[in-house]
């Protein structure tokens, strides 16, 4: 069964550094999402992406965040200047009908 893949599985970064989280959605899916889960809290929506543009973003998704689909397969989330509170699990999802999630990237900001 096709699946969403995310790399790396764990990213450790110094506060203030830029980080790029990578996702390869399922190939025929058209809708892409990023969610995050801070330890002990709920999974929160960050942004949705369709037809090469953001279709919706949450209040969390401020100017420090950006998404890109640089080629036909990858979907990336960039955090420009990381803060301690950005430490979380970041999940990518893609959908045609129903959202399929990757296994996440654990981002640790030191």
């Amino acid at each position: 069964e096709p699946e969403v893949t995310q790399t790396p599985s764990h990213q450790v970064t110094q506060m203030g550094q830029e980080v790029i989280l990578r996702c390869v959605p399922i190939s025929n899916h058209l809708y892409f999402y990023w969610y995050r889960q801070i330890l002990g809290q709920k999974v929160e929506f960050l942004v949705s992406f369709y037809n090469n543009e953001i279709s919706e973003k949450s209040e969390i998704f401020d100017d420090q965040f950006s998404v890109e689909r640089p080629d036909g397969s990858n979907f990336t989330l960039k955090i420009r200047s990381t803060k301690l509170e950005d430490s979380a699990m970041y999940f990518c999802a893609s959908s045609e009908v129903g959202q399929h999630f990757g296994d996440g990237t654990r981002l640790s900001i030191l």
Binding site: K42, V43, Q99, F101
Partner: protein, 113 residues
């Protein structure tokens, strides 16, 4: 802003018995509801869903019930198996838009052999 609430952080059930996981929502615009299952170090996996025009959907051992007037849904697992031990997330969607999922905090189910 807790639009989707799962008030029980954990539930422990004996193998073979029924597991009932509950979920409440506050936003009456939600029209599609989903349950996801999550094992440690993995992403959420879709389990079962229900449209707001229905009150029940069944798939094997899993049944979801929706009570729109009470803004309440529940997931029944029967019979429960040790492999069902995981965190279960309730999620809701407003169809027709970006279809972002709004999640509850999850309920950790433990099925004891």
């Amino acid at each position: 802003d807790q639009q989707v609430k799962q008030n029980s952080p954990s539930l422990s059930v004996q193998e073979g018995r029924i597991s009932i996981l509950n979920c409440d929502y506050t936003n009456s615009m939600f029209d599609y509801f989903l349950w996801y299952k999550k094992y440690p170090a993995e992403g959420p996996t879709f389990l079962i869903s229900i449209s707001s025009i229905k009150d029940k959907n069944e798939d094997g051992r899993f049944t979801v019930f929706l009570n729109k007037s009470a803004k309440h849904l529940s997931l029944h697992i029967v019979p429960s198996q040790p492999g069902d031990s995981a965190v279960y997330f309730c999620a809701a969607i407003i169809q027709g838009g970006s279809e972002k999922l709004v999640f509850g905090k999850g309920t950790k189910l433990t099925v004891n052999p």
